[in-house]
């Protein structure tokens, strides 16, 4: 039993980590007033870049940082459209979801002899080293270093958003850009920074899939995690800790399906029904505990100087 609980915790943390990075990206962008539907596309770019760089350089850390840069670059498109051109942010986000996977698979075919997947790549380390506690139940808790990074990023972003003046500025830009503008805050620059940060974080999220969980890039490496992260942003009411909690809950539900689906659980639920569990559970939690969620007031609205 004890072993199973530790296993559950380990798998929960593993599955939730890519979502955590994506959701944090969503939080920071939407808090500045830019809706980010494109997390999925940014994550896919990160997932591919991370795996490819790790493969060619042999350094997973270099891959991880390159993934952040790739995510940031594609986010730049979103920033140009939604901040400079005052374009519809939903449309631009959806465009990223087409462009991101498109680029990732296009370059994958170019670099890896027409294949849509990379060979296995070097992984990021575990937090206690590769074979610590091997054979004991505690080995379940020897999670990937990305799990720790995700937690640190959550704490940092929480501190940044709520305890620093820059965080206050970001939140004010997301609530009332015109008022912030009159106080001398550069709305466009703030939003640019936040959208870029959101791309970097989403890129890390993609890389924590390919550099820690599945050890390669393939077309289904990122399949829907970006959208789940988007849901976690709303679920967590646009706060870093809320989003983190939502991702953990989702990871837990997925871990439950793995543990319950195991042969020695004594349950005979068809695997497809079990696989629905995370999604049904999310809806149930929303109905029972969470209720109405209110977005930052200026979320999704382009800001033009002089408008009221």
């Amino acid at each position: 039993m004890f072993n199973e609980i530790l296993l559950l915790v380990g798998i929960t943390l593993m599955y939730s980590t890519p979502l955590v990075f994506g959701a944090l990206g969503g939080v920071i962008s939407e808090r500045s007033g830019v809706v980010n539907i494109g997390i999925e596309g940014m994550m896919t770019m990160g997932a591919f870049t991370g795996a490819a760089v790790s493969y060619f350089t042999g350094s997973p850390w270099l891959g991880f940082f390159a993934a952040g840069i790739a995510g940031g670059l594609i986010a730049l498109l979103h920033a140009v459209a939604s901040v400079t051109f005052n374009a519809d942010q939903t449309i631009s986000g959806i465009a990223l979801n087409l462009i991101g996977p498109g680029f990732a698979l296009f370059f994958c075919r170019l670099l890896f002899k027409k294949a849509t997947m990379t060979p296995p790549v070097a992984n990021l380390p575990k937090i206690f080293g590769e074979n610590a506690f091997a054979g004991t139940p505690a080995a379940n808790l020897n999670v990937d270093v990305t799990v720790l990074l995700g937690l640190i990023a959550t704490l940092l972003i929480w501190f940044f958003l709520y305890k620093t003046k820059w965080g206050l500025r970001i939140r004010s830009v997301g609530e009332h850009p015109a008022a912030s503008d009159t106080l001398g805050i550069n709305v466009a620059r703030t939003r640019y920074a936040c959208v870029l940060a959101s791309g970097v974080l989403s890129g890390f999220g993609g890389a924590s899939m390919t550099l820690a969980i599945i050890s390669q890039f393939n077309p289904t490496a990122i399949s829907g995690q970006g959208f789940i992260a988007l849901a976690a942003v709303i679920f967590g009411k646009w706060t870093p800790y809320g989003a983190y909690g939502a991702c953990l809950l989702f990871g837990l539900a997925q871990a439950l399906t793995v543990v319950l689906g195991g042969s020695n659980s004594g349950l005979t639920i068809p695997s497809q029904i079990l696989a629905m569990l995370p999604y049904i559970l999310t809806i149930a939690v929303l109905i029972l505990f969470v209720g109405r969620s209110v977005a930052p007031k200026a979320d999704g609205l382009p800001y033009e100087k002089g408008q009221r």
Binding site: I91, I99, F106, L110, P219, S223, F227, I234, I273
Partner: protein, 375 residues
């Protein structure tokens, strides 16, 4: 100057400019990757227009995404973001299979029964989203995303169930032949039909080598119906009013919650219809185990956006999209460039659709400047 401004103010101008940029960006990427863009595009157009059979396949490929595009566009017009078209499409396909495999009536009764089952499946998914939003204030984006996955696993559950699983395959049994909505399915494969079709080369090509079906016709009719509903009926006025300003609509005595549910029900029904018609109209007339989404619903999002959420525009955007998807296969076969260039191209078009929304505003300025000169 005035004429330029007038042309630029038409939505179609922005869309065409966006499509143009899509081709330019794709050409640059192909060049950088070492392929000849001209060859790639000629392969693309060849793959769309060269044979009657290709054109027919483009229309067949476009049919479901026109309908899911309509579903998304309709929801947009009522202020809702229906990212759940994918799940509603799957629900429609699954329900059509559930009924169509077990029921076997004469076609005149069977077809409506199977299609209606699909519509109901999509409607149910849409209703859940609308109800949860109206009753508990849960954002439609979350429930829709969750239902997409629930739909995917539900479909896999039905495929795997003993009552529907076709032995030694990864799919369900096909629906009974009486549910088929192809054009003259029995006559065209009979001796008399073959003999008659041989007289006309292109008819032969189209009828016997592709699944010509009534789906496209229905999609066009639905586009007209949705246009009428939105812009020429009281209900449509209410739906749009709720989408435009919820509080003002409520103040005017419109039942907001009811209209949210109604809007999602209609959007779900359209996507469900798309799923049902795909089952009745095209081979293999069954559902298969899904490892990932087939994107019929997600592509509907792009269609709706390229169409600027106009119901009639969805027909053309769907055809464009269907053409790129189908013709894109030839790019890889003939030129060797990865087919993903098509996804990049479609993404770029959608991206520029977002950007070119500014063109009418610029045109307005241009027009004003022109007027100042006249005075």
């Amino acid at each position: 100057m005035k004429l330029t401004a007038k042309i630029l103010k038409k939505p179609i101008a922005s869309t065409l400019i966006a499509v143009f940029f899509g081709f330019i960006v794709a050409a640059v990427i192909l060049l950088v990757a070492g392929y000849h863009p001209g060859q790639a595009f000629s392969a693309l157009f060849h793959g769309i227009f060269a044979r009657p059979k290709y054109i027919s396949n483009v229309i067949i490929k476009a049919t479901p995404i026109i309908l899911t595009g309509l579903s998304v566009a309709f929801a947009f017009q009522t202020g809702l973001f229906n990212i759940g078209a994918e799940g509603q499409y799957i629900a429609g396909a699954v329900s059509a299979v559930l009924v169509g495999v077990k029921l076997n009536l004469p076609p005149l009764l069977q077809i409506p029964a199977v299609v209606l089952a699909g519509v109901l499946g999509g409607t149910l998914f849409g209703w859940v989203v609308g109800y949860l939003k109206a009753k508990f204030g849960i954002h439609e984006v979350i429930t829709s995303i969750m239902l997409n996955w629930i739909g995917l696993y539900l479909s896999n559950f039905v495929v795997a169930s003993s009552a529907y699983h076709m032995p030694n395959s990864t799919s369900s049994y096909p629906v009974n032949e009486s549910s088929f909505t192809m054009l003259l399915p029995n006559w065209k494969t009979s001796d008399a039909g073959m003999a008659a079709l041989k007289q006309h080369k292109w008819l032969y090509d189209v009828m016997l080598k592709t699944d010509v079906n009534f789906g496209f016709l229905i999609a066009v009719l639905m586009a007209a119906f949705i246009w009428y509903l939105l812009y020429r009926s009281t209900k449509g006025y209410e739906l749009r009013a709720v989408g435009f300003n919820r509080d003002a609509a409520e103040f005017a005595g419109i039942n907001v919650n009811r209209n949210i549910v109604d809007a999602m029900v209609i959007a779900g029904a359209l996507s469900g219809l798309a799923g049902a018609l795909a089952i009745t109209g095209t081979a293999p007339h069954s559902i298969s185990t899904l490892a990932a989404f087939e994107n019929n619903g997600f592509n509907g999002l792009s269609v709706a956006l390229i169409a600027g959420s106009s119901p009639v525009g969805c027909i053309f955007a769907g055809l464009l999209f269907g053409g790129l998807l189908y013709g894109g296969q030839s790019v890889q076969q003939d030129v060797g460039a990865p087919t993903e260039i098509i996804n990049i191209m479609i993404g770029t078009i959608v991206f520029f659709v977002a950007l070119t929304k500014v063109i009418p505003v610029l045109a307005e300025k241009l027009e004003k400047r022109g007027a100042a000169h006249v005075q």
